[in-house]
């Protein structure tokens, strides 16, 4: 009987301790300013060194100011960033931060610099770490105690093997749709806890036809269905990522032998699963979330349903039950984040803006690249001008308004390319509607959601 890629990679990294307890060796540990300071403090208290600084990579992203100033936003942010800088310099850990102008969203930066690799294990104190599974790695978010464990031992202690799950998407995806529509559609089918305790294998020819960026968007949102791990098999598209020189990977190292090893851990055709979902890409429409959880997602042809039983002052921001998706009025728009903050995302959104030719019809719109490299690539292509001409603010990289623990906060309904529609997520008085970057761009220009297919058709695309 066959096994999955997850199980093969897991087997290579499993350490058996006493009494049936397991640990998992960690290939890459990514840390950032928000979830690491307490872990370093714990090590210090116990007088334990960082075990493998050479496999630890630090990025500042969550609180960084994207507004073009080099000064942190306030003293607490300054202390958070300074604490990470001090811990990195003390323990000889490489840091991509504001001090060297290399800051960015950790899940955008690590793949870009070639640290994310197939067949390895990657952990980070951030639930969207499953993003790296797009490359065929075992990757998951952890709490700060686990960060402490990995810093101290180079391994994840108290490891338990996840359930094996599969999402297979087959068939041609309509040309006006993108990876975000696929994952929102999957979520609309399985809900926000289907994958709890699980590792999700994303497969099928629709997934295989996606770029690495698209696969990252899919794996990124595994946590929104409850799963810690999401991953894809390795193929030619994966190889092509490493054909260009990256900060920590030389294209010359992409040998036939290495490729063979990467592919050798792909999922067996006869692997079995605890549960699986098979989707026909033809059923997928342009999707949007509403409500308060990822259980509330509809196609553009849909209507909102009642959201009941939730206490809180901000219920008034929810549109009335039965509102068609196309009639939700937006106040703000946001393009960025570890879900959709890569070059491909900004190219797609800029294309919509160019075709439309107008300006935003909402209060404000932010375009926040996921990394310095994404920003530079966009600017080399003139995309920044496309956004600013239409009335978007073109910002420096960071997590920005995806979680708004920085100055980038909204007040009202936000059309957003991010990953969570939790109330207050993009500012205390915000209400988020998740969609693809293309949909966000069109929402910004029209003030409401427009069918992308008719839009492209009307422009002869």
């Amino acid at each position: 009987m066959g096994i999955t890629r997850f199980q093969k990679v897991e087997k290579r990294h499993l350490i058996e301790l006493g009494e049936g307890r397991l640990a998992l060796a960690v290939g890459l540990h990514i840390i950032h300013e928000v979830t690491s300071s307490q872990a370093f403090a714990a090590l210090e208290k116990m007088d334990i060194p960082v075990h493998r600084p050479q496999n630890t990579f630090a990025v500042t992203d969550h609180v960084v100011n994207t507004g073009g100033k080099s000064d942190p936003n306030d003293l607490m942010d300054e202390i958070l960033i300074k604490t990470l800088e001090d811990n990195c310099s003390k323990h000889d850990i490489t840091l991509y931060g504001q001090h060297n102008g290399l800051q960015g969203v950790c899940h955008v930066v690590a793949p870009e610099v070639g640290l994310t690799r197939p067949n390895t294990t990657i952990f980070c104190g951030d639930s969207h770490t499953s993003t790296h599974g797009a490359f065929g790695a075992i990757a998951a978010g952890i709490g700060t105690s686990n960060v402490r464990d990995i810093l101290a031992t180079g391994s994840l202690l108290n490891y338990t093997s996840p359930r094996q799950l599969k999402v297979e998407v087959n068939g041609d995806l309509a040309s006006h749709l993108s990876a975000k529509d696929i994952i929102l559609y999957v979520l609309s089918k399985v809900g926000n806890e289907w994958a709890t305790g699980g590792a999700v294998f994303f497969t099928g020819d629709t997934i295989r036809n996606l770029s690495m960026e698209g696969r990252m968007t899919i794996c990124n949102m595994t946590i929104e269905m409850g799963g810690r791990f999401g991953y894809c098999d390795v193929d030619e598209t994966t190889f092509s990522w490493y054909e260009k020189n990256r900060d920590f990977f030389s294209s010359g190292d992409l040998t036939e032998e290495l490729k063979q090893d990467w592919v050798s851990l792909n999922t067996d055709a006869d692997a079995t699963y605890d549960d699986e979902l098979i989707i026909d890409a033809a059923d997928i429409q342009q999707m949007v979330s509403y409500g308060l959880t990822l259980n509330e997602i509809m196609p553009i042809s849909g209507k909102t349903t009642e959201i009941g039983g939730v206490l809180g002052a901000r219920a008034h921001l929810e549109v009335p039950e039965g509102t068609p998706a196309s009639e939700i009025a937006f106040d703000h728009a946001f393009i960025g984040s570890c879900t959709n903050g890569r070059l491909e995302d900004f190219e797609a959104a800029a294309n919509v803006i160019r075709l439309h030719g107008g300006k935003i019809r909402i209060k404000s719109a932010l375009a926040v690249p996921g990394s310095i490299e994404v920003k530079r690539d966009c600017e080399e292509r003139g995309l920044d001008k496309v956004f600013t001409k239409a009335g978007f603010e073109w910002r420096d990289p960071g997590c920005s308004s995806c979680l708004a623990m920085n100055p980038d906060k909204f007040d009202g309904r936000v059309a957003s390319s991010t990953n969570r529609n939790f109330p207050g997520r993009q500012g205390p008085k915000s209400r988020t509607y998740l969609m693809s970057p293309e949909s966000v761009a069109l929402c910004a220009l029209e003030g409401k959601m427009i069918d992308l297919k008719s839009f492209y058709d009307s422009k002869g695309e």
Binding site: H13, T293, F422
Partner: protein, 230 residues
Amino acid sequence: MNLTGNITRFLESNTDTDVIIPARFLKRTALDGFEQFAFFEKKYDASTVCEPTIEAKDYVFDSVSHNPACPLNHPNCKDATFLLTWENFGCGSSREHAVYALRNFKVIIGSAPEGKSAFADIFRDNCRQNLIWTPVISPEDHTRLKEVLETELENSSVDMVLDVAASTLATKSGSFSCSFDLPEHHRNYLLAGLDAFEKARQEISSHLHKIEDWEGGNAPVLSSSPNASR
């Protein structure tokens, strides 16, 4: 071994860690002091202001106004150390600060409809790391306990007993009792406490050579950055 204390409730399904502690309160670098921000948007009403002040290097409440409709503010639930929750509690962000905010609780009781999850994975594991018990009870027992609390909390606080050896959860008065589930490795860790971390750290040292060379060059090594020239 028994854990005892009085109980409070927060029964919304899909309570995410942003609800347990909003992101803007994650900026402290210390472990303690997060309790005051727990369920901020639920416990306090809209007039409550709490912002970082430069002078204090911390958050300061300018005004506090409790929301009387929030069950966590029930007068008979003061200083509770047991929390009753419902379906998919702790979903979303992996932030352990959510657990730091709940460190006043010794026991967080979960439950969900058949086939659904009581707790999100990462949150439950973070509870274990902070030595908070997360027993899961059946939906039928959850309904019974909810009804018992609705009645009894009208008159006084309700004391609970979690019997570790018997895996049972009961009101001290005996008006309610049920069994609970908890993964074996959680139970062992909770009983061993921080010794479990130290023990695993000692044990793993004999495996460290494996970690060094286990995957034949697949693991990235930052010290040998070939192209980090920019």
